[in-house]
């Protein structure tokens, strides 16, 4: 882990409100794993507004070239300031941070379920899964067509992609999780492992879910995994202070520790952002 000022090699808009940034950061790139994030400073001078850094997950890492890529969505003050940083300037980041996704044993198939700006970490994950000869399928959801990001990244990796949009402007009309589970209409590929309750049991044992997206989506995907007996990992997002494990601001309540124990609230920045889906007490 380092704190350094890294040159911005690339910074461009990839979809409405979404940007991709590439940082030259050889030492951070060496050890970075899928699911990890960087904590990036959006404004450095007085009046320090926004004051705090923003945690943003890694979409790709090139250890040889020494680069880190992030994709973020302009949501408020911080990301708006970040979007103004020109290529060639320097960005102050801390990273890589957090606990990465755990890889499944050989022979399992990975189902990547991403919603909106939760999609990018799954791209990095897909890349590393394929290196380990683990097959992956991506289910991507967003409110509308323009926000279904990173489809091309998955395609370049050869990962099949199934899309759902809330407004029906692209792919399946509805939630990527619920509809996939209930109707099996998302795509033929879903039907044989998500669609039918009868066939689910026989294939569920071969699957692992990796989930990242809005809370409602993650909760639904986690519930689906539990119903089908499929192991699942979720990557959570929280407002963060330090991202170093000190401020105790980004905690999530877990059911693996007794009520009242100091470890009942775990830090998304340190014990997470990846948690076993069944451990999380959803708000």
């Amino acid at each position: 882990m380092v704190q350094e000022k890294a040159k911005i090699l690339l910074h461009r808009k990839i979809a409405r409100d979404h940007y991709r940034m590439r940082l030259k950061a050889p030492s951070a790139a060496r050890g970075a794993r899928p699911g990890q994030f960087i904590h990036i400073r959006c404004r450095e001078e007085s009046p320090y507004d926004p004051l705090l850094r923003r945690p943003i997950s890694l979409v790709d890492v090139d250890p040889t070239g020494g680069t880190l890529d992030i994709v973020y969505k302009v949501m408020g003050l911080g990301t708006r300031a970040l979007a103004q940083m020109p290529e060639g300037s320097k960005a102050d980041f801390i990273g890589p941070l957090g606990k990465p996704f755990a890889f499944p044993p050989k022979g399992k198939r990975a189902v990547l379920i991403g919603g909106g700006v939760g999609i990018p970490p799954l791209v990095f994950l897909a890349k590393e899964l394929l290196k380990k000869k683990i097959k992956a399928t991506a289910f991507l959801g967003a409110r509308t067509k323009e926000w279904v990001i990173c489809r091309d990244d998955f395609r370049k990796l050869g990962v099949p992609v199934h899309v759902a949009t809330d407004d029906g402007t692209l792919g399946f009309h509805g939630s990527v999780v619920d509809r996939a589970a209930e109707s099996g209409r998302v795509a033929p590929a879903t039907r044989h492992f998500l669609g039918s309750r009868d066939s689910a049991a026989s294939v569920a044992g071969d699957l692992v879910f990796y989930i990242c997206g809005p809370t409602g989506m993650m909760k639904a995907a986690a519930a689906l995994a539990r119903r089908r007996g499929i192991p699942a990992q979720v990557s959570l997002e929280e407002r963060m202070g330090c991202a170093m494990g000190c401020c105790m601001g980004c905690v999530v309540e877990v059911n693996t520790e007794p009520v009242g124990s100091h470890a009942r609230f775990q830090r998304v920045c340190t014990e997470g952002p990846v948690f076993p889906a069944e451990a999380v007490l959803w708000r």
Partner: protein
């Protein structure tokens, strides 16, 4: 003579006047992954209570213009785990003074914490959290009341030979009353200020931004309030060692605190924003002094230039 940064803070000798504030620096090990924390003047640990605490529900933090509000609720590992798991690293640091921040719901808990820490090696001082505004049960009651403040300090004083630092709440009408009570009861130094009680609202949902409704405001937004209180206490108590804190981001901010009367400073929220800020403040302070041919940080303490009629002691406030 070359500029040097050593300062004397009551009984404590510091290699430089830059400490890191309780609750923003964990137990030291976390930030040691980014830089060598043995270069700090002092480390004040996260508040320790007798028993572990799970803290408040979430959301616990919210960013505000040039600041942040937090209501963590003193989540901590408790005294035993602190001694077993956190002290070995802190003890291994040769440079910084190690200050353990303690908190309790009752006076007896502060006393017991002090007593049990007395035999633990590697601790230079205790900072009493008298002012955390987050915990329903403790904190604020002591810090807003001069009698209670004095009582806690007097009783802890009897159980420890270590330096006692009283961390004062800014959520009072006249901070000098509390400061005087703390100093007279035996505090070796005062830390001021803790966070300002605050509230942020979401106009869309009509809900507070923090689960406990109110929290403590910190960061650059509070610096002018902190400077004012340091100056007031310095005027009221010319001899009492003061550690100033509240929104320090740069060496120049630290200089402002020294000018208002602080003998040393603590850096808090800035650790989240720029982890290496303490090192930058140490280096920046040294060059600030060197450029002005000043030998030591003490050359700045209380040197704020004010009109004649505002120098010296303020009128005694009674009642």
């Amino acid at each position: 003579m070359a500029t040097q940064l050593k300062v004397q803070l009551g009984p404590l000798k510091l290699q430089n006047p830059v400490l890191v504030a309780s609750g923003t620096f964990g137990y030291g090990e976390e930030y040691n992954r980014l830089y060598d924390v043995s270069r700090l003047g002092g480390i004040v640990t996260k508040s320790i209570s007798l028993k572990p605490r799970s803290g408040n529900p979430v959301p616990r933090i919210y960013e505000t213009p040039s600041g942040m509000i937090n209501a963590i609720g003193l989540q901590n590992v408790g005294l035993e785990a602190f001694i077993q798991k956190k002290m070995p690293f802190l003890r291994s640091l040769k440079g910084p003074r190690i200050i353990v921040n303690i908190v309790g719901d009752r006076i007896s808990e502060y006393v017991e914490l002090a007593a049990r820490l007395e035999d633990v090696k590697g601790i230079d001082g205790l900072e009493l959290n008298l002012s955390c505004p987050n915990c329903e049960r403790g904190g604020i009651e002591f810090g807003v009341n001069p009698k209670l403040t004095a009582e806690v300090i007097r009783k802890v004083r009897r159980r420890t030979r270590r330096a006692i630092i009283a961390k004062l709440s800014p959520n009072v009408t006249d901070v000098t009353l509390i400061a005087r009570a703390a100093a007279e009861a035996g505090a070796d130094a005062l830390s001021l200020i803790n966070t300002l009680l605050a509230l942020a609202v979401d106009a869309s949902t009509w809900r507070p931004r923090i689960a406990t409704v109110t929290g403590g405001l910190s960061g650059p937004a509070v610096k002018p309030v902190a400077l004012r209180m340091v100056w007031q206490v310095r005027r009221a108590l010319p001899k009492t060692p003061i550690i100033g804190l509240g929104g320090i981001m740069t060496a120049r901010d630290a200089v402002e605190f020294l000018l208002c009367g602080a003998n040393a400073v603590q850096l808090g929220t800035v650790n989240y924003v720029n982890p290496k800020a303490p090192l930058e403040v140490i280096a920046g302070l040294k060059s600030y002094l060197a450029e002005r041919k000043l030998k030591s940080p003490s050359a700045l303490v209380g040197k704020l230039q004010v009109p004649e009629r505002l120098r010296g002691l303020p009128q005694v406030v009674t009642g």
